[in-house]
């Protein structure tokens, strides 16, 4: 099943883990609001999300498996073949064999990291100059797009 990009990892994770991660993210917003917002936004820019972990892990397995298949014989090809299939499954559906494990240890999805970042920006007042005009001008739109830059 092909899921929405933004929520595919969430929909492939147990609800209680999603709730726990969301509660931790909200705790971070409360903690870093007002004082260390700049520093925290910098950390969030660097935070390794689920996609980055999965790309490194799948890349390493396919690389090692393909080299083993070349040097030690074609039977090793089953490993990169399986890893490729799992990566495709992740890209389309969101699930991945290691996803439950990395979610359990607190690796967040791009959506969750973004939610914390944008909540911090909102608390700081980054959106306070955005127009509430129901027919915004091009300048209003540009202001909004600039305000939404992380």
């Amino acid at each position: 099943m092909i899921r929405k990009t933004l929520r595919k990892e969430l929909e492939s994770t147990a609800p209680e883990i999603n709730e726990r991660v969301m509660a931790e993210s909200f705790g971070n917003v409360s903690r870093y609001a007002n004082e260390d917002t700049d520093q925290r936004l910098l950390q969030l820019k660097q935070e390794w999300d689920t996609e980055r972990f999965i790309e490194v892990e799948a890349g390493a397995v396919v690389l090692a498996g393909s080299l083993l298949a070349y040097y030690r014989g074609g039977r090793w090809a089953a490993i990169p073949a399986f890893a490729s299939a799992m990566l495709l499954l992740h890209a389309l559906n969101g699930w991945y064999p290691w996803l439950p494990l990395i979610r359990r240890v607190g690796v967040r999805t791009p959506y969750e990291v973004g939610t914390e970042a944008y909540a911090l920006k909102a608390v700081r007042g980054d959106f306070k100059d955005v127009s509430s005009d129901p027919k915004p001008s091009l300048a209003d739109v540009t202001t909004a797009v600039d305000a939404a830059h992380v």
């Binding site: 929405k4 990009t5 933004l6 969301m22 993210s25 909200f26 917003v29 409360s30 609001a33 820019k45 660097q46 390794w48 996609e51 980055r52 790309e55 490194v56 799948a58 890349g59 390493a60 396919v62 690389l63 393909s66 080299l67 298949a69 070349y70 074609g74 090809a77 990169p80 073949a81 490729s84 299939a85 990566l87 495709l88 890209a91 791009p110 990291v113 973004g114 939610t115 944008y118 909540a119 909102a122 608390v123 700081r124 007042g125 959106f127 306070k128 955005v130 509430s132 129901p134 027919k135 915004p136 091009l138 209003d140 739109v141 909004a144 797009v145 305000a147 939404a148 830059h149 992380v150």
Partner: protein, 145 residues
């Protein structure tokens, strides 16, 4: 070199492409905001489904390595080196933010997640989702979800 997660793709794209994608975002936000009504909500849902560059690349790498492995098993084992090379590029992309298919995907208008999010949150802000969220972490967090 290990790049920041959020900026690694725009940093490894040409200024011209980054600029074009920004203009695209401004245009789409303007179109949805001015149309108003249900159009904003509809556009927000489109943005949730938009394939970002990571999703495109993962699909691409899965397909390329699978073909390499199949040809290695069936035609010539040197094809295993082809899939090994593709896998090395995927690791490079994850760490650094660049890989050979990236310029192609960027030219096809695949956006990085932060670029999609920028359009999404600009639209939410214009809709007024963030009014009164200043200095209010709970309200801000609910608005950002």
């Amino acid at each position: 070199m290990i790049s920041d997660t959020l900026t690694r793709v725009p940093e490894h794209s040409s200024d011209e492409i980054n600029q074009r994608l920004r203009e695209y975002a401004v245009g789409r936000v303007a179109e949805a905001a001015v149309t108003g009504g249900g159009r904003i909500q509809q556009r927000l849902e489109e943005l949730e489904s938009e394939w970002d560059v990571e999703r495109g690349l993962q699909t691409n790498f899965a397909a390329v390595t699978a073909v390499g492995v199949a040809l290695g098993a069936l035609v010539d084992r040197r094809w295993f080196l082809f899939s090994a090379g593709a896998a090395a590029f995927m690791i490079q992309h994850a760490l650094q933010g660049w890989c050979p298919p990236l310029p192609v995907l960027r030219r096809l208008n695949f956006r990085a997640m932060p670029e999609i999010q920028q359009e999404r949150y600009a639209l939410k802000a214009l809709r007024g989702d963030f009014s009164g969220t200043e200095q209010d972490p709970l309200k801000a967090f609910e608005a950002a979800r």
